[in-house]
Amino acid sequence: MDYDPDNLFRDDEEDPEGEFFQERESSKEFVVYLIDARPEMLAQDAGKSESHFHAANRCITESLKTLIINRDYDEVAICFFNTKEKKNMQDLDSVYVFNVPEREELDRPTARLIKEFSHIEEKFLTKIGSRNGIIPMTRENSLYNAIWVSQGLLRRGSSKNVDKRILLFTNEDDPFRHVDGATKSDMIRTTLQRAKDVQDLSISIELFPMCRPGTEFNTYKFYAELLGLEGEELSEFLPLAAEKIEDMVDQLKKRIFKKRVIRRMAFLIHDDMWIELNSYALIRPTSPGVITWLDSVSNTQLKSERSFICADTGTLLQEPMERFHLHKNEIVRFSLEELSEVKRISSVPLFLLGFKPTDCLKDYHNLKPSTFLYPSDEEIDGSTCIFVALYRAMLKYQRFALAFFGSSTHPQLVALVAQDDMIRNGVQLEPPGMHMIYLPYCNDIRSIEELQNHDSDTIPRATDDQIEKAMAVMKKLDLKEFSISQFANPALQRHYALLQVLALGDDVDELPEINDETLPDEEGMRRPGVVNALEGFKAAVYGENHDAEEAALEATKSGGEASKKRKAETAVKEAANYNWDDLAESGKLKDLTMPELKNYLAAHNLPVTGKKDALISRILTHLGK
């Protein structure tokens, strides 16, 4: 069987608009992960097995794994501060830049970096060591040093086409608490100045504050000023105060990737009332990465070249600019411009048609992942205000907006569904805004339910008693805390693990088993309560003797196998009427009918499916011609 790598992770259809699923990310990123290594970071709470240090490292490892597959042009550096050992270009104390061989300090992540970093804790204390932060009696300012080293790491690349970020992970909201007087004010002043210099170089500093339950990370104490947060921004800055370390990890993960706008667009509300929206891809299928073809002998990269050849004359052509359709032997030609003209229905990117109650949006009104819309006042002032007013009205009246989305590849109707801000335990579960859902046209909807011809009297409907039994099953098998994204994609995890093993040159026998989280909970299913409920439901809809009846049905089917055997025998008999070798030699196989050809195939236990040509070639192969 021909094996199609591109479809490895798709079901059975090709991707209609490849570019829709790929984020258009023009700029690349240089990131320094700056991790506080004070003893308080490494400390484990009684009963809690995970330290803040470990949680931060886990988030970073996960984001590195994502980067290495999907954004291999991004460069990263990992830097600890408040360490015993020092390792950095400026030779500053208390700062340790972590790296592995065959790699610059700021470079693309490699398999080895990820592997060693994910195991760093085992030898961190012996190799790198932890020490207290800023303490009295020394002039040592580790935070200042850390920012300076990070700046040094990010010296390459122009800020025009590279986003430079320093991600600072710490659980200390007041780094200068142990010093006082002139030393303190002096240290604070120089640190703030250093941070400002960094920001003036278009390097952003982002804080990932962590804190213990019951305590609060007070941004005002020091970091608000360092980050340059003011008024509105400060109110938007949610401290990572979470009850559970898991929730905190979730929040870290949310912020570790830069929010990228896929498109800025204008939305026509009415007459000449326009507002400005940014669209974001919050949900998109992750692919196993791009395939690069290699020469298997030299392992060097190949480039593909496409050429167009005239089928009639064999002449090499320039890329043809015309398409045609054969209609009754008459060629109808179209130019590419004409074709794109046909698809251009509207020059307005998005315009409002009206509103409908939310129950008009059916479950099958879906074709591809939705796109998230959030207003922006950058070019059209007042956009946010209008957007929020519509959004609130839609939530109030339970309406969604129907709009026309004039994309150049597939203009279509879209539903704009207002999503209320959902926050639980300080974690934003759903951001406020509107989700754009791409709607099908009638051409895209199939009336499958009506396909089968049924007489109304042959269709049983559930009785209340039966429904009760099904309700009992539902109670037993309730997934209370279900949320999407609780499952990792096992195929993708397996693929990544394989890549990592191969990239490190390890033996594939060491490939770790992937835990398939998508399998049902077999143990839970065997609990007596669950089994009883299921048995009750089964007896109610299938009757008590279902299994026996099924077995009987199975038996008749095996009777069908007997008839299959009979058929095969007839086929052998029928096939014996021809001299197949002669027919094949003289090329007369094509004069036989399909049933005649199938007799031969059936007699020799070969597949009987396919077109006539396929059957003939199968026979020829079998005859060894």
Binding site: R284, L294, C310, A311, Y441, D478
Partner: protein, 471 residues
């Protein structure tokens, strides 16, 4: 090979006159689409409500007046456009039952019992004129007899009934009786009746392209090891593509009738260092980027080491419908129907669907459609209760994202925006009004721009465009 035989039964009685341009356009669209996809289809056109009479039944047995067969069943050709562009304005009230009989007669005479399931009658009428009493028995008996015939010959009937503002002055009693008669057809499961109230939905009332759907999966929906339900899974929504056109070669001899004008596209793989070195396909190996490295993996290696789940549909559990949000649906939708003819399966699906609906629950499934498939999908199953006696209950299934597919970004809450960027009371009032005024589902009237009846303008325009070139 015959794909489909289609008979248009078009009402041209006086009350239909203002609608005829749209009817003609609807038929055009269907035929044009067939030009692209099914050139060997055969089409007939029958008009009723005409002044004249011309059909074989009238000659053979009498009756069937004011029904004209303007085009007998034959392969699509240009002449059909002339027929459709120039629909005569009739002068008599149309009897759609007569027309159906004449249409069936055409199909039976041409094909007999062959081509089951590929014969379609498409009736367009406003059904507001009285139907003649039959010579013997009642109208109900007559329709039941017709249904038997339709079923025996594997014919389908689609009725498009213009209502709402299309109805002029009409006798309510007659309209109601006709609606009842039409529903008797659909009650038998061989006919489909669509009521249309505006131009757009008229044009969207018929699938311009007929696809014979294939199952994605047939087998057990496993609630557990002990409880399984036999289901068939189909796609419910699929994007219909723009028809593919071939690349045109202008280098072929222009006037030779042997010229195909086709273009072959060749791909060659060359090594980057040495462009003269063409690498044959068997020497190529797939490489995946992993940071700065490109990791080569042979097909055999990948095949041996990839994730290989077992085929099957397994229930993970039930959850509150509110735990799944609409925007989390990832792709086109599937429909799970109970195995046809299997009463137990029909009942089990119905029970589960109704219980889910009652409790406002959905179920979460893990599906592997085929053996050998390299991935699994996790998705949400929602109940679809049938509103018709002859259609079993079913489920819709939508794929949900995996953890890797979700990018969770934080967006500031609107309530925390400075007041200057939030709407004031007056502005909010205006927005409330807009949402109420621009109502696409006004009470008492149907829903406007319903996806089920809204055709894709690109496909429509494209067809007209083709026609322009053909003329």
């Amino acid at each position: 090979m015959l794909q489909e035989a289609l008979v248009f039964l078009l009402d041209v009685s006086p009350s239909m006159h203002n609608l005829l341009p749209d009817v003609s356009k609807l038929c055009h669209m269907i035929i044009e689409r067939k030009f692209f996809d099914n050139k060997s289809d055969e089409v007939a056109v029958v008009l009723f409500g005409t002044q004249d009479t011309n059909n074989e039944l009238e000659k053979e047995v009498g009756g069937y007046e004011h029904v004209v067969v303007v085009r007998a069943i034959k392969v699509i050709a240009d002449d059909i456009f002339e027929v459709l562009s120039d629909l005569p304005r009739g002068t008599t009230p149309g009897d759609f039952l007569d027309a159906i009989v004449v249409g069936m007669d055409l199909l039976i005479k041409k094909f007999g019992p062959t081509n089951k399931g590929k014969k379609r009658l498409c009736l367009v009428t406003n059904a507001q004129h009285p139907i003649k009493e039959p010579d013997e028995g009642t109208k109900d008996d007559q329709i039941d007899a017709l249904c038997e015939q339709l079923k025996a010959h594997g014919m389908k009937l689609e009725c498009i009934v213009a209502r709402g503002k299309f109805t002029g002055v009409a006798d309510k009693r007659i309209v109601n009786e006709n609606d009842y008669l039409l529903s008797r057809f659909s009650g038998k499961g061989i006919a489909r009746t669509v009521f249309v109230e505006d131009r757009a939905s008229l044009l969207g009332a018929i699938q311009t392209r007929t696809v014979s759907p294939v199952t994605i999966f047939r087998g057990d929906l496993e609630l557990s090891n002990v409880m399984k339900i036999k289901v068939w899974v189909y796609k419910k929504s699929v994007v219909e593509r723009f028809p593919t056109l071939k690349k045109y070669s202008d280098k072929a001899p222009p006037n030779s009738k042997f010229s195909t004008h086709e273009v072959k596209v060749d791909f060659e793989y060359k090594s980057k260092d040495n462009p003269n070195n063409i690498v044959p396909p068997e020497q190529r190996i797939r490489g995946y980027r992993y940071g700065p490295q490109v990791v080569p993996i042979s097909s055999a290696e990948l095949e041996a080491l990839k994730f290989k789940p077992e085929k099957g549909i397994k229930l993970l559990g039930f959850t509150n419908a509110s735990n799944i949000r609409r925007h989390q649906y990832m792709r086109d939708t599937y429909v799970f129907i109970p195995e046809p003819g299997n009463r137990k399966a029909i009942l089990a699906v119905s029970t589960m669907a109704r219980a889910m609906k009652n409790a406002n629950k959905v179920s979460i499934l893990r599906c592997v459609w085929r053996q050998g498939q390299g991935n699994v999908v996790v998705g949400v199953l929602t109940p679809n209760l049938s509103s018709s006696d002859n259609i079993p209950d079913s489920f819709y299934f939508n794929i949900l994202p995996f953890a890797e597919d979700v990018r969770e970004f934080h967006f500031p809450s609107f309530n925390k925006l400075p007041l200057s960027r939030q709407p004031n009371e007056k502005q909010q009032g205006a927005a409330d009004n807009l949402v109420k005024m621009l109502d696409l589902v006004p009470s008492g009237k149907g829903e406007a721009l319903r996806p089920e009846v809204t055709p894709n303008p690109v496909l429509e325009v494209h067809d007209l465009f083709t026609l322009y070139y053909l003329r």
